[in-house]
Amino acid sequence: MDSAPWQADIEAARQHWLAATAGCAQLTALRSVQVECLGKNGAVTALVRRIAEVPPADKRAYGQATAALKAACEAAVAARHAELEAAEVQAELDDDTFDCTIPPQAALSGRPRPTGHLHPLCRVQHEVEAVFSSMGFAVLDYPEVESEFNNFEALNIPSWHPAREMQDTFWLDNGLLLRTHTSSGQVRALHTFKPPFRAVFAGKVFRYESTDASHEHTFHQLEGLLVDRVVSVGHLLDSMRTLLSAILRRQVEVRLRPGYFPFVEPGFELDIQCQLCGGAGCSACKHSGWLELLPCGLVHPQVLRAGGLDPAQWQGWAFGLGLSRLAMMRYAIGDVRLLLGGDLRFLSQF
């Protein structure tokens, strides 16, 4: 059977467009070839549409042939596209015209300098550290991956202790853990410093906890530790009142109530008088006049022992301050996840 005239057309189109595709040396050229060939008004698209003019007997064969043509062109364009992209990357990699010795100031000349922004957590951390430093506290920095011993045992939280459940912990595949509180630095400080001493250490802590507007698996704390020959509840009260007044920049009234933390005895929850109502009671403080701020207490003798000190000779107080919470209070941040979320639009406010 003689081939129909349209068969030659299709074959010609195939050869033309495959050659055109292969001949493209640039991605831009390939894009225009793609439009000319397969676009809405492209040549192959037009061929496909011409099925209306084909005699009924040929329609089936014509349809198959144009579909195959279209597929072949599409495949060729895609393949060429990948080749050109790879070539483009390769050309970039081979290009040696980049001069890494140009002084940065010269490369940037003429560009206005952008405005920088301090992270709210770091602002708060530095402010608080500065207050403590001015009062004679050492400012320390301790690792985030910790041993079970420093995070639990040394803090009088042996493995059977229910407190281990309250602290939902990230365990690492090397058997270590991500510290669940900055208290893990207590035994490090006790071992390092000659008593009497006082120190603060802040940083990231980690809890295996699902997140919402007020819960994060990673947040920031600041631990305070003071060791001296005689340390009483009266000393703790005085220190807390003074320090918190300096941090919150106003005269603060505090109260202690019983709280349970294995590494302090006695242990307290420290409340501050509500700043909104001045203690009269309002919705912010659940009408109690007091806001729960931080846990604290006198260092448990067991912790002093783990730190190499004889509790008959030395006593101490300790507290843990939630820096994330403080930052949220200070800057009216409603969602804790914003702090570590990395969104520059959020950070550019600070």
Binding site: E88, F98, A106, L118, R255, Y260, Q302
Partner: protein
């Protein structure tokens, strides 16, 4: 946990105390009160009614007409309660009454029938949220028409105590323990629990405690001729308002006694105790038990079960088995009142996800004496609630505790020590007050005139809670009132405080980068985000990262080893979305940095020990300070008690060194290359844009090093970088998928140590970004930089001679590094014996043929004389000749 003021008042006289006002004091003395609820007030208008007639409602199937005798009159009202029946005693609410639940009773018609009043459910009266049926007043003796508050116990104040604040106080998990605290606070006597009950003879069942370590005490008794019925209305309402659903008198009795004493109880149907035998044992591996909630539980040998002669009938301390529960026709039962090992119960409850009222209490370590009290209270209650019931056995006391009661905890201290720790004087807190306070809290106190104290801790405080003198400090402090303690400033010698070098360094660097360089500070997660890494093909080739065993999300399975990936994610986001309301524009820039720790799991290398120490001990002071403490300490190990030593030994044996956690500075700078809709297209960055973002990142690193007071780092182009193997182990990874193989530099110390890098983003990674952008990444190892000697500036006098500046422009090949030209010019001018102080790049212009036209500035100065025109001309000549040697091939 809920505390009922009315219940407490059975044992302590609370006359004249306002429980609402008292709550604040309670919070400061005992435990935090989350919520306070008034219960059962304003019901004076409600009266007791007897249902004397029940008739169908003419117009409704589900409603009926109840005729109620109110003593002085009868009335007929419409009632929808399904449990309405003739002879019932129910609360009747007359017309015109507004109930605490908000319901207003009107004299209206219900489906065409007048209803002057209503019969009420618990929910209607605001007593609970139960509206399944009418509040049944069966058993109430008051005559019909008696106001409800005079017929049953109404009016209570409930405290909801934060459970977390009593995890260390097993005694406070019962109302009686709370009453003890309230009595001590008020200084009023506490009535003892009445435990008199007529007992029978002989053993209730055969009991074998096969796991004595997990069950110190197992107390049993048998009751016959009991009858299952509802408990009295007062008891039912009491259970309800404390959060327990009433079931029947026998089960309710176990719950009531649990709430009262804190000791959970269990009652078995005696018919179901097969072989008349009870064994307390560990479960067999794979043993199954269907608990009361209908769930089949598969057990392990770490679980404790109560078994009869044939198999388990209860999961000890957690939940009873379905096979032995009290049935409607139960008439004979076996009571269990036991003490179980706290850790065993806690582990079972956790593993099976069954935190019950019972397990919550057992895991607090209950007093092993308590089951004897709880058993008697239970028997008493059942005899009262089920007339005719008799205790047919003696109390059987099994388990090791009877033979070997726990050693009494004795604390020896002095009143002076207790006062010192509180910070109060003997006038403020006299010995007599201390003794009286402790006695009110049931401590046995021996006191001598010199203030020596021997304090016997009561069993219910001795299991975990009170062991040392500091615990006594807490008892006294909270009852004395912490608010009454005068502040005292600690006395510590004034010395300049030590500050960790890393903290000092961070302050300096962030100030320089934010204020000078205009960068935004980031604090990002310590986890890598695997989804993000996969999308951008970010990886460190085969360099291992620390894995998390219990990840919180499937993308957060590893700790970061480099700062770049998370910083890139944050930069990509703003480059894609733009800064705010406007769509992202071309030329939008980001410049961010993070100061943070990364985690390198590699095992320590001998030569890296000091660096490892540096990475871990940034909090440690210099060695000189450290030496001071020698001789001050005892061996810390010997100071610990036996429990702790065992735990520590385990930790030490494991011998796991901490991984390196070096501090790094990470920098990402980027610039968007297209705006709006065009922006989605892939763009090859122009060279100027690449130089800009690279320059910005490099500038940041230089600024950081300068802020740290260290000598500038050398910038070594990629080709000249030593093999990766020679780099310090904690330095940023050199071989990563995001480093551009050519457009990168190493940052090298004068000693030849690589401490960081600056690179453009690899095009493969860049092309995967959601926005067309050019980005540069820098990472610097802070520990290594801090280890360098400080750059101390030299105070040279300013030069006396004014120098001359010569600008020189020349064409160089595109691939020529301008620094090579500068070096060649400097050498040539020096070789010609001419004075040149400095040569520096100024600017350049790209040429049509691809070459570069670069302008440099030469600063010429001689220390001792002004330069003459001829010298300057020669310098210019030499420089031009040198630059010409770099001219592109074929240029004129």
């Amino acid at each position: 946990m809920w505390v009922s003021w009315r219940w407490l008042s059975r044992w302590v006289d609370t006359e004249g105390v306002d429980p609402v006002g008292f709550a604040q004091r309670f919070t400061c003395t005992v435990a935090e009160i989350d919520r306070l609820k008034r219960w059962g007030f304003e019901l004076d208008a409600v009266v007791v009614g007897d249902v004397v007639g029940v008739a169908p409602h003419p117009n409704a199937d589900k409603l009926r007409l109840a005729t109620v005798d109110l003593g002085d009159r009868q009335t007929t009202v419409v009632c929808g309660a399904p449990d309405l029946r003739l002879g019932m005693r129910v609360p009747f609410v007359p017309v015109g009454v507004t109930l605490p639940s908000g319901i207003v009773v009107k004299d209206g018609e219900v489906r065409g029938v007048r209803s002057p009043g209503m019969l009420a459910s618990e929910a209607d009266l605001g007593l609970s949220d139960n509206h399944d049926g009418l509040l049944s007043l069966e058993g109430v003796v008051a005559p019909a028409g008696t106001p409800l508050p005079r017929a049953i116990e109404l009016g209570d104040v409930l405290y909801e105590v934060d459970n977390k604040s009593i995890t260390h106080r097993p005694d406070l998990w019962g109302q009686y323990g709370m009453a003890r605290e309230v009595a001590a606070m008020l200084g009023r006597p506490l009535l003892p629990l009445d435990v008199t009950v007529p007992l029978g003879q002989g053993a209730p069942v055969q009991v074998e405690v096969a796991a004595p370590d997990a069950c110190p005490r197992y107390v049993c008794a048998r009751i016959a001729q009991a009858k299952v019925a509802p408990a009295p209305v007062d008891a039912r309402l009491l259970l309800r308002r404390l959060g327990v659903r009433p079931i029947n008198n026998l089960v309710d009795a176990t719950n009531l006694v649990m709430l009262e004493t804190g000791n959970p109880l269990h009652a078995f149907d005696a018919r179901q105790v097969r072989g008349n035998r009870i064994v307390v044992r560990r479960a067999a591996a794979g043993e199954t038990l269907t608990t009361l909630d209908g769930q089949a539980r598969t057990l392990t040998p770490r679980d404790l079960v109560i078994a009869d002669a044939e198999g388990a009938v209860a999961l000890a301390g957690v939940m009873g088995g379905q096979n032995s529960e009290i049935q409607p026709d139960t008439h004979e039962m076996v009571l269990e009142a036991a003490a179980f090992d706290a850790a065993t119960i806690r582990k079972t409850a956790m593993r099976l996800g069954m935190r019950t009222e019972s397990s919550a209490r057992f895991e607090k370590a209950l007093d092993p004496e308590l089951p004897l009290v709880a058993a008697r209270r239970f028997l008493q209650t059942v005899l009262a609630w089920s007339p005719g019931a008799v205790v047919t056995s003696d109390l059987l006391d099994a388990g090791p505790c009877r033979e070997n009661p726990p050693t009494r905890v004795l604390i020896r201290t002095t009143t002076a020590y207790l006062r010192t720790r509180l910070g109060v004087t003997a006038d403020e807190l006299p010995d007599a007050w201390i003794v009286a306070c402790l006695q009110r809290l049931a401590f046995a106190v021996e006191h001598t005139d010199d203030g020596a104290l021997t304090i016997g801790v009561p069993g219910f405080r001795a299991t975990k809670d009170v062991r040392i003198a500091e615990d006594i400090v807490e008892e006294l402090g909270r009852h004395y009132g912490y608010g009454r303690i005068a502040s005292a400033a600690p006395l510590i010698a004034a010395r300049p405080p030590f500050t960790s070098p890393s903290r000092v360094a961070e302050r300096a660097v962030r100030a320089a980068l934010v204020l000078q360089e205009g960068m935004t500070e980031q604090v990002l997660y310590g986890f890598d985000h695997e989804g993000h890494r996969a999308r951008l093909a970010l990886h460190e080739h085969d360099a291992p990262r620390l894995g998390v065993r219990n990840e919180i999300a499937k993308d957060l399975v590893r700790l970061r080893r480099n700062l770049a990936p998370n910083l890139l994610a944050a930069a990509e986001q703003v480059l894609t979305t733009g800064e705010g309301k406007e769509p992202p524009r071309e030329g939008l820039t980001v410049q961010t940095f993070e100061w943070g720790r990364v985690f390198v799991p590699s095992p320590p290398r001998a030569d890296a020990n000091d660096r490892e120490r540096a990475a871990l001990d940034l909090g440690a002071p210099p060695l000189a300070l450290d030496l001071d403490r020698v001789g001050e300490r005892q061996g810390w190990f010997t100071l610990m008690d036996a429990d702790m030593r065992d735990a520590v030994q385990g930790t030490l044996d494991a011998d796991r060194p901490l991984p390196w956690q070096p501090l790094r500075l990470g920098v990402v700078c980027g610039e968007r290359l297209g705006g709006g809709a065009e922006g989605s297209k892939r763009v090859v960055p122009e060279r100027a844009a690449s130089q800009r973002v690279f320059g910005q990142a490099l500038s940041a690193v230089h600024a950081a090093v300068r802020a740290l007071g260290k000598p500038p780092l050398q910038v070594v182009p990629h080709a000249d970088v030593p093999a990766a193997g020679s780099m310090p182990i904690a330095a940023p990874d050199w071989t990563t998928s995001w480093r551009h193989p050519r457009r990168c530099v190493a940052l090298v110390t004068t000693a030849g140590q690589v401490v960081g890098l600056v690179t453009l983003l690899h095009p493969d990674v860049r092309n995967r970004m959601q926005a067309p952008a050019e980005l540069a990444v820098a990472e610097l190892d802070i520990d290594a930089v801090l280890a360098l000697a400080d750059a101390v500036p030299m105070g040279h006098a300013p030069p006396r001679q004014v120098g001359s500046a010569l600008d020189i422009t020349g064409r160089i090949a595109a691939s020529t590094r301008q620094a090579d030209v500068v070096a060649a010019m400097t050498r040539a001018i020096a070789a010609a014996g001419l004075p040149l102080e400095q040569a520096g790049y100024l600017y350049e212009a790209a040429q049509a043929d691809g070459s570069r036209s670069v302008t440099w500035r030469l600063l010429c100065r001689a220390a001792d004389r002004a330069l003459v025109a001829d010298e300057l001309a020669r310098i210019l000549q030499v420089a031009q000749a040198t630059v010409a040697t770099f001219a592109p091939v074929g240029s004129p």
